[in-house]
């Protein structure tokens, strides 16, 4: 208990900063920087003042947040799958890796936001274009980490497999995938925050719904608190996604940490 208190003590700056922000913005009456209480009130009114039956979500929330989150998870899942499959294939074959390496380096150097106009030409406005943008933005760290993980499987395990004539599918699932898992998870962790960035930018650029679009609408209607509410919501979303991911990672990789004593 005292440990919790001792740790909580170090959070003193958060409330102080909030109060300072409130006081400063109220005194300065800055148009573009509304006081935090106003932002939170707007956030609540806009998205979370719905009926209990709908988990307090308003109709607007269902209209704005759910499509955004759906695209975020769909894009992330697609990219994660593609990245792991391609990455492991490239990691296990030296020739394939050498063939693809320059292309991979080029591909990941293209700023994903630069491809938004391309995807707009290809898919027109709407969900496929946004999912494509998220997939492209997210796939590289997963692919490169999976490639790295696939390349560095302990040779002893592979030779044991050979001795016991373990088939290729079993070898992939039981040996290679677990061996590469810590690296893959490192890539996936990076990709979570990237997915959020790509979700927002794709909605700012070409969308008719979603959190990003809502923020742009708020901006054009000079509804500054609503715009800030979007920023706060996305920040909270970023924290939540990260925490959730770390929780899942800790659970799935607990064997790894108990096998070696470092925290990977």
């Amino acid at each position: 208990m005292s440990g919790v208190l001792a740790r909580a003590r170090w959070y003193w700056l958060l409330p102080v900063a909030a109060v300072l922000w409130e006081v400063a913005t109220r005194r300065a009456e800055a148009v573009y920087f509304p006081p935090p209480t106003v932002i939170v009130a707007r956030l609540h009114e806009m998205w979370f003042s719905g009926p209990l039956a709908g988990l307090f979500l308003t109709e607007e929330a269902v209209h704005d947040l759910l499509p955004s989150l759906g695209r975020l998870f769909a894009g992330w899942a697609l990219a994660a799958t593609a990245g792991v499959v391609l990455g492991l294939a490239l990691g296990r074959s030296r020739t394939l890796a050498a063939l693809a390496e320059p292309l991979v380096h080029f591909g990941r150097s293209v700023p994903p936001s630069a491809l938004l106009p391309v995807f707009l030409l290809l898919f027109k406005i709407g969900t496929p274009m946004q999912v494509a943008a998220i997939v492209y933005g997210v796939v590289w760290p997963v692919l490169i980490n999976a490639m790295d993980g696939g390349r560095t499987v302990d040779r002893g395990y592979l030779e044991t497999c050979q001795v016991f004539r373990v088939g290729a599918p079993t070898r992939l699932v039981r040996i290679i995938l677990p061996a590469a898992a810590p690296k893959i998870f490192a890539g996936l962790r990076l990709s979570v925050s990237l997915a959020l960035i790509m979700m927002v930018i794709s909605e700012l650029y070409g969308s008719t719904e979603g959190i990003g679009h809502r923020m742009l609408e708020a901006q054009s209607q000079f509804d500054i608190p609503a715009m800030w509410a979007g920023i706060v919501l996305l920040g909270v979303l970023g924290v939540l996604l990260n925490v959730a991911f770390l929780g899942v990672e800790r659970r799935l990789l607990s064997w790894h940490r108990s096998a070696r004593h470092d925290t990977a």
């Binding site: 170090w10 959070y11 003193w12 700056l13 958060l14 900063a17 573009y32 020739t95 050498a98 063939l99 693809a100 390496e101 320059p102 292309l103 380096h105 080029f106 591909g107 150097s109 293209v110 700023p111 994903p112 936001s113 630069a114 491809l115 938004l116 106009p117 391309v118 707009l120 030409l121 290809l122 760290p141 990076l190 925050s193 959020l196 960035i197 927002v200 930018i201 700012l204 650029y205 990003g212 923020m215 742009l216 708020a218 901006q219 500054i224 715009m227 800030w228 979007g230 920023i231 996305l234 920040g235 970023g238 924290v239 990260n242």
Partner: protein
């Protein structure tokens, strides 16, 4: 050059040529609709034309100068801040929660705000680059300072040096490789942020503005050619900084920090 390296280079080149040939074949055979995507050869020809196009040069320059300015300002802000946080533990422990709170805010979500606050969209772009680059620089500086050999610090203290000069003579040099890693990560992010701002607010020019313009004129060849250039620029920047880092810090094989 050793022969395995030569082999890898040859295979890599073959991979690129093969990929381009495959795409070209897919276009010519009608697998990729020509009305949607132009032939690769057309795109590459347009890319070559763009290399000699003064208008495109100006856009590229607008993007790169915003990136460079943003990176420099972020460096000037984040490294001293990191030095302060890293050498005064009370400040570090107090500010840490605030940092952890602000860092997850996706920088692109600040674009609508930046468009309001800065009348000139070039300023909005630079300031967002500064905001984004500050985090990896700050985190890596802190990371490096936590890794300083305590014995070296104590030795200097033993000889009567004050805390500021310990920080400057021991902590900063031994944290430098980590800061360099932070710079490399930040470089990768600058281009993404710059282009993101440019496509949402194309008023200030830049590669993103060019992409939007070409896209609305339905010139897919120009869009793709500009994408090719943006990829080459990003690749060149990351190779340049990685090479510089290797050269400067050959004595130190820094663990690669977390990418932002």
């Amino acid at each position: 050059m050793t022969s395995p390296a030569l082999r890898r280079g040859a295979l890599g080149a073959a991979g690129v040529v093969g990929f381009v040939a495959l795409l070209e074949a897919a276009g010519r055979l009608g697998i990729i609709d020509r009305d949607v995507l132009p032939y690769v050869s057309t795109v590459l020809a347009t890319a070559a034309e763009l290399a000699a196009d003064g208008g495109f040069h100006r856009h590229v320059l607008a993007t790169l100068s915003a990136c460079a300015a943003g990176l420099l300002i972020a460096f000037a802000v984040a490294v001293p801040a990191g030095l302060l946080l890293g050498t005064v533990p009370v400040v570090e422990r107090s500010v840490r929660p605030l940092v952890e709170f602000l860092r997850p805010i996706p920088s692109v979500s600040l674009i609508p705000l930046a468009m309001f606050v800065f009348v000139d969209s070039a300023d909005a772009k630079t300031s967002l680059i500064v905001y984004t680059c500050c985090w990896p620089l700050l985190i890596n500086t802190l990371y490096g300072l936590a890794d300083v050999d305590p014995l070296a610090k104590d030795t200097l203290r033993g000889f009567g040096f004050g805390e500021p000069s310990v920080a400057l003579r021991v902590s900063l040099p031994s944290a430098a490789p980590f800061i360099a890693t932070g710079v490399r990560i930040a470089v990768g992010v600058t281009l993404i942020v710059a282009v993101s701002v440019e496509i949402v607010a194309p008023g200030g020019g830049g590669i993103g503005a060019y992409l939007v313009e070409a896209g609305s004129a339905n010139r897919a060849d120009r869009v793709l050619a500009a994408v090719v250039w943006s990829g080459l620029l990003g690749l060149a920047a990351s190779l340049l900084f990685a090479a510089g880092e290797r050269r400067l810090f050959r004595w130190h094989t820094a663990r690669t920090g977390e990418a932002a």
